[in-house]
């Protein structure tokens, strides 16, 4: 590897700085809630820090639900690749016909592993 110049976020300090800036902005925005008198269109907007809490909780729920969805919905990358799976099935069939039990097991195993990865 060539010696490369270090970039902005290669330095963990800069990442920290960015995060602190975000924390500061978040704090400031909550404080502003008390300073700025705003129009209220819906009674729920009167709740303490309605928007910040809604945003935060909404996103956390979003990510958790999405993670759970993965348990049910996630499949291998080439799940739909019919030509390849067909090839694999062909291979297994041919191996079986030839009566090479070892070969079949190996091919099937490879296929299995592929799906599980």
């Amino acid at each position: 590897m060539n010696i490369e110049k270090t970039h902005l976020f290669d330095n963990p300090k800069n990442v920290k700085r960015l995060l602190y800036a975000l924390y500061f902005c978040c704090g400031l925005l909550v404080v502003l809630d008390f300073v700025i008198k705003r129009k209220v269109y819906h009674s729920w907007e009167n709740l303490w820090a309605f928007y910040p809490i809604y945003g935060f909780v909404g996103c956390v729920v979003l990510v958790f639900v999405a993670s759970w969805m993965r348990l049910i919905l996630m499949r291998d990358e080439d799940y739909y690749d019919s030509p390849e799976t067909a090839d694999k099935a062909d291979l297994a069939e041919k191996a079986e016909i030839a009566g090479k039990a070892e070969n079949t097991a190996a091919v099937l195993h490879a296929g299995d592993k592929h799906v599980r990865d």
């Binding site: 970039h7 902005l8 976020f9 995060l19 975000l22 924390y23 902005c25 978040c26 925005l29 909550v30 502003l32 809630d33 700025i36 008198k37 705003r38 129009k39 269109y41 819906h42 907007e45 820090a49 928007y51 910040p52 809490i53 809604y54 945003g55 935060f56 909780v57 909404g58 996103c59 956390v60 979003l62 990510v63 958790f64 639900v65 999405a66 993670s67 969805m69 993965r70 049910i72 919905l73 996630m74 499949r75 291998d76 990358e77 799940y79 739909y80 690749d81 030509p83």
Partner: protein
Amino acid sequence: MFGIEMAPFVIFFIAAVLAALTQGWLRGAIMLAAPILGAINLWMTPEGSYWAVSFLDFELNLLRVDRLAILFGYLFHLAAFIAIVYSLHVKDRMQQTASMLYAGSALGAVFAGDLLTLFVFWELLALTSVFLIWARRTEQSYHAGMRYLLFQVISGLLLLGGIIAYANVHGSLAFEDIGLSGIHGWLIFLAFGIKCGFPFLHNWLTDGYPEATPTGTVFLSAFTTKVAVYALARGYPGTELLVYIGAAMTCFPIFFAVIENDLRRVLAYSLINQLGFMVVGIGIGTALAINGAVAHAFNDVIFKGLLFMSMGAVLHVTGKINGSELGGLYKTMPKTTILCIIGAASISAFPLFSGFVSKSMIMSAALNNDHTWVWLMLLFASAGVFHHAGIKIPYFAFFAHDSGIRAKEPPLNMLLAMTIAATLCITIGIFPELLYQLLPYDLDYNPYDATHVLAQTQLLFFSALAFVWLNLYKMYPPELKSVNLEVDWIYRRLLPKTWQGLGQFKQTSMQSLNAFGGQHLARLSDYVSKNYAVQGLLAKSTSTGVAALWIVLMLLAYLVIGLF
């Protein structure tokens, strides 16, 4: 018959023919000239109906120019111009011709004054756009294109059926407010709904768009769905069902977007999410809501185009688009990174960026009309869109872990196109009046009051905080090489497997029938030959007298039974 007014699609179709016949810089110049000349032509065309044609008993209007159509007209010229600049480096006759025809068809559809003309361009949209997917020239894109086309053709057939029913009822083909009355209303609604990506009918979009070429997706994201939004705004304003459909559209895609690995597919999901906002606006149907929906369509084409362009640029220079394979690109692609972040800020509706000035109109309209739950869903979707499109896209492509890829910036024309789009995002964000004056209704709306700005900023910053928190504590779902099952599973897996299963069932039942037959037919034939063959019991011939004797005996028995 024809006035001096030129229909915008004609310019693009002529340019498409010329582009097919030329090459090199000349083709590029012709393609660039089309949207510029088209925009000038549109600017000089006064409102009204032109190109009236009689067809059977119906009056067709090939060119209807009013405020709603003009807005979409300018939008499509602008989108075409940006996308053409973005694809100037491409040397692919098929793709370039198809993209010009496609843009022309979109213009034809929005300026169609009657339903039959709309239908013709509706189908042309489908036929021309599929070549942008096939132009990738991979087996995957071929199949995705076929599935895409299937949906589009079904949409076209529904539209045609609806038009026939409509003509039957109304005796006219004029494209005005249709409404959900009668079978024609529902058929046309469904046809529009497919192209607009209604839930369960949306898969052609998330399936097809990410398989198109880097430049093709930019065209695709601009036209088909926005024509559908236009058609809904024209035909079904104030249809309450649309409010709920739209709210569902804003929410369900964001869950899939969070776990999707292909970053252009993430954008396709977020495209449906943005369409949801527009559909809600159309469903509410007040002047503010319709204005918001149309303004959001305008902004979405530009910022979604910008995001698709930035991801297309990443795909173009790295050959990769999966979040799991990218990261750290900001080091060598700082310009693309910044442009992408501008698009991300716009779609997230940060104040001073374009998304804010249009989305807040729809949110306000939802609140004004007492759609509290819908408003909460839209608020959730706003936080969610920031999460998956605003943060996830730039973060996993340009930051996150260093993938070791040291790709150069994309070609100059790509950067230029992205810069134009980014400039528009910021300009509209800062000077929203520029856009507002084009809207169909005259309204005095100011998005920049303390209420809107503070609420939206709080929502977004705390969404960002949630992302940081989840990421720091390793709770954020990592990018994984995977596909997620979706509605398309039904027709890509369930139906073929069921069909296959039925075939197998038929085969096995035939086999067992054969085996059964092989076993029992032999015995049957043995039995038959034993009894009926020449020497068989039942084949014995006896004299007529014996038969007569038997009959006499039987009659006698009958008589005896009858007596008692």
